[in-house]
């Protein structure tokens, strides 16, 4: 096995938090909550040119029960908010949320009666991503920042999150 050959005859000491965080951050399975044009950029993030699998996140799961991080990509209307929240509630903990793009973060250009002005009104958000839509690189930036957060979070209380991050 790779680990044994890397360590040789020696041993390794670490903290549980660090080990679990390291394992979690490199196997974040995204739940692609594609709601509008951001979903197209989310798809291009998975193409061979951008290649989301470089970060251990290529396993897009369309079942919330198998995913760790929900990428809310697009405009969330009041009618859809209940669906998004229901899917979020079905995800097993630990779970994280990325608000991808201007609409999910703040309502974006849809300053209107029908669009929720930021998904943090009805669910916790870990990373807000700017852009309309954000380029795949910007999404990767958000994912890498989320990885840092996951690495530094506690095993017992992963919700020990400080302020959400803003990626511009």
């Amino acid at each position: 096995m790779g680990l044994e050959s890397a360590l040789g005859e020696g041993y390794l000491t670490t903290q549980l938090d660090a080990l679990v965080g390291w394992a979690r951050k490199n196997s974040l399975w995204p739940m692609p909550m594609g709601l509008s044009c951001c979903a197209i950029e989310l798809m291009s993030a998975g193409d061979p040119r951008h290649d989301i699998s470089r970060f251990g996140m290529e396993v897009m799961r369309f079942s919330p029960r198998q995913s760790d991080v929900m990428i809310v990509a697009g405009t969330v209307t009041y009618k859809m908010a209940h669906v998004v929240r229901k899917i979020y509630d079905q995800m097993a903990e630990p779970r994280w949320v990325i608000a991808m793009g201007a609409c999910a973060s703040s309502g974006g250009m849809f300053r209107s009666y029908s669009v929720v002005q930021g998904i943090d009104q009805f669910m916790p958000v870990d990373v807000f991503t700017a852009g309309c839509p954000p380029r795949p690189e910007n999404l990767f930036h958000a994912l890498i920042e989320l990885q840092k957060k996951v690495q530094n979070s506690s095993v017992l209380d992963y919700r020990d999150r400080k302020e959400p991050m803003f990626i511009s």
Binding site: K79, A81, R111, S112, Y113, S114, V116, Q121, F122, M123
Partner: protein, 164 residues
């Protein structure tokens, strides 16, 4: 107005008389304002006439003119595939009684257009088989595209899940 449009308007006037309230032309399109009692008959005639039939109902939508005496308006766009001709039908409505007979019996495709118009303006369509809201939640109490509806909506009228 080209010959075809002129003959259509003449036939409409001859056939429906005072039901045709006004005929206008704008950028090569003919706009015919009719009374709401006549709208089903006019639509049926437009669909079935032998001279230039209009088998396609492209759109039905409402307008809130707000300051005008007849506040609401329902617009119909019909297209003739045979003659490559478009005709616009308008019905003007009083604010106190915004209702137009449904044309779903003539053009089944108008079903969801009329639902949308009902959802956004509160204009009802007697005779419609299933006049539910198209976009907004069923229990929503307002009509968002009316001019007196605020842009950002009525606070609290659309519930959100708790943040939790």
């Amino acid at each position: 107005m080209n010959d075809l449009q002129q003959s259509l308007v003449d036939s409409l006037r001859e056939r429906f008389g005072d039901s045709v309230e006004e005929v206008r032309e704008f950028r090569d399109d003919v706009i015919v304002v009719v009374t709401r009692q006549a709208v089903v008959d006019v639509a049926t005639w437009l669909r079935d006439n032998e001279h230039c039939p209009f088998p396609l109902c492209e759109d039905v939508f409402g307008i809130d003119a707000w300051t005008r005496k007849q506040r609401f308006e329902v617009n119909y766009h019909f297209f003739s595939l045979q003659c490559k001709q478009r005709i616009h039908l308008k019905v003007r409505l009083e604010e106190s009684d915004p209702a137009v007979p449904s044309i779903t019996g003539v053009y089944p495709g108008a079903n969801w257009y009329e639902r949308e118009t009902f959802d956004m303006y509160g204009i009802t369509f007697p005779g419609h088989p299933d006049l539910r809201r198209a976009y907004m939640p069923e229990d929503f109490e307002y009509y968002p595209l009316r001019k007196d509806f605020p842009l950002m909506g009525i606070p609290g009228s659309l519930p959100l899940p708790k943040r939790g």
